[in-house]
Symmetry: C2
Subunit: 363 residues, 2 copies
Amino acid sequence: MNRVYNFSAGPSMLPMPVLQRAADELLCYGDSGMSVMEMSHRSADYEPIIADAEAMLRKLMNIPDNYKVLFLQGGASTQFAAIPLNLIGRTGKADYAVSGQFSGKAFKEAQKMGYDVKCIATTKDDNFDHVPVITKDMIRPDAAYLHICFNNTIYGTKYPYIPDTGDVPLVADLSSCIISEPVDVSKFGVIYAGAQKNMAPAGLTLVIVREDLLDYADPKMPTMLEWKTMAENGSMYNTPPCYTIYMAKLVYEWILSLGGLDVMKEMNVKKANLLYDYLDSQDYYIAPVKKESRSLMNVTFVTGDAELDKKFAKEAAAAGLKNLKGHRSVGGMRASIYNAMPYEGVEALVAFMKDFAANNPKA
Amino acid sequence: MNRVYNFSAGPSMLPMPVLQRAADELLCYGDSGMSVMEMSHRSADYEPIIADAEAMLRKLMNIPDNYKVLFLQGGASTQFAAIPLNLIGRTGKADYAVSGQFSGKAFKEAQKMGYDVKCIATTKDDNFDHVPVITKDMIRPDAAYLHICFNNTIYGTKYPYIPDTGDVPLVADLSSCIISEPVDVSKFGVIYAGAQKNMAPAGLTLVIVREDLLDYADPKMPTMLEWKTMAENGSMYNTPPCYTIYMAKLVYEWILSLGGLDVMKEMNVKKANLLYDYLDSQDYYIAPVKKESRSLMNVTFVTGDAELDKKFAKEAAAAGLKNLKGHRSVGGMRASIYNAMPYEGVEALVAFMKDFAANNPKA
């Protein structure tokens, strides 16, 4: 077995101890006589798994009691529709900040569905090289919510603060930064995240929603997208993605064993600093993101020469540093350094970058 | 490791060779240097996996070229909403046959969403102990589709024939009988199925849809529920449930290695006959389903005494025959004997039933 360093933006690396335990338990979990993959979601064997997953996540994120935790399917993209369907009934209109491709998709989805939505801020004209400044006075006071994408995977940006939205609930996509550092859940109305970056394999979507926001669902909406229905049924209105929830539980357990999100943040800052410090120390590679908007999870850089970028990604992959090619919509390189990426992986990347720069002088 | 016989209705048993291979490959797949759980869905490592899954399923089910195969999330329950959202625009109305709880839920979902839907047949008054007779003249000629649930997991019934719906597309939930025996796909407009009974762990939903039915979607519907969008993007409009698709591929491969669906049917008939023949040969247990509607996959029976039923399920579990308790809405016992249940499991069940009857005489 020759494991690589996988810089994929998602699905992405999982911690080795988690994978090892999943492999060990795959044929037979405890004394259940079966794989977790085979367990009825309503069985005494499975119930503690989903209950522990929720309890561990609540502990990890310090989720207040008046928030529901939902384990769903369909990805963040399904939530782009679920959000207005569940919430816009509160006032009939909603505001969006567009800081990249996914927040743009969330906005367009609500528009397509015929809702009164307004883009209150965007950094599109700057190629999303930073996140917009959001102040309370920019938000319509009667907006049902303000939607943001907290960390922008494709561009490598992140809000350096939680916007103050006053009485308007803040709805945030945390897909690519969830459980990478502590976050004050009480400042959000809704947090949602696809699991396939920092939490589990693809196929699980986490929604954390303040209880008072469960009462505005469109009565004609698809039942499976109704947060309230899912909350009332403990995420088991139908069969949940049981095995992926088990994998998430193993990841939560791993983080708790390391000391929780403060420790995780420390580790992530150390990794990101290694890479950003190198980027700032030289001029072969350009880091396009404005410093104050830099993501802790996704680090983008370019050589300024598309052919060299291509060569970089190809040679890096051959050297065991995979999936460094930037998103197809922006090009260049992107190193996603989620929780499971070891420090040694970033060290290896920086060493490779130095070699590549030395071996490929620009004209 | 002491594996039990797991008669769960779903999630349910997976074939041992499939689980063994998944365990062997869990830390590192081929020469990719990573787990399938960690692969980017758009990587050269993953692409052959989803492509093979589709190719193998097409071969297994002999799916005609004018049908699209979609690997989705959300379960059959999400399709209860997706079906009218995608199809009812064809004529503005749709017909349903209600043969159990899930077809009832599908019907109610379309009703709740405000559509003109009609229940053309139901066996509710007979406690769903058989499936309704459906003839062409019962269906509204201008119905956008007729929806049926082909195998009713909870009651243990199955249509013994594919209803002739004339020009009205037949939409069928095959969640609990998919790939258990050959089925003529060309007789259906849409086949859909949750994977967690016969195909894979929970978290994957299969939709097989005739191409000419992709053009009627409600323009305001959630994009993630649009079959056309998913078809145009090869099930990758967003991140698919990659690992669960890989598990499905391993299951398809296993069935192909055994000889395909003809062989699978032969094995399933042999298993079901063992159980039904025993039920028909004695009078301690009652099999409530009318013979012509008997399911090959889910076999229901009762002792006629709720306390004895409870004792049966408890003692069976202790003897390594788990999850024989009937669905909470109907009680009694249910043995789900999907593809992965070995013949020996049904032998063990029948032996246990004989012992239990001998040891627990009725008053």
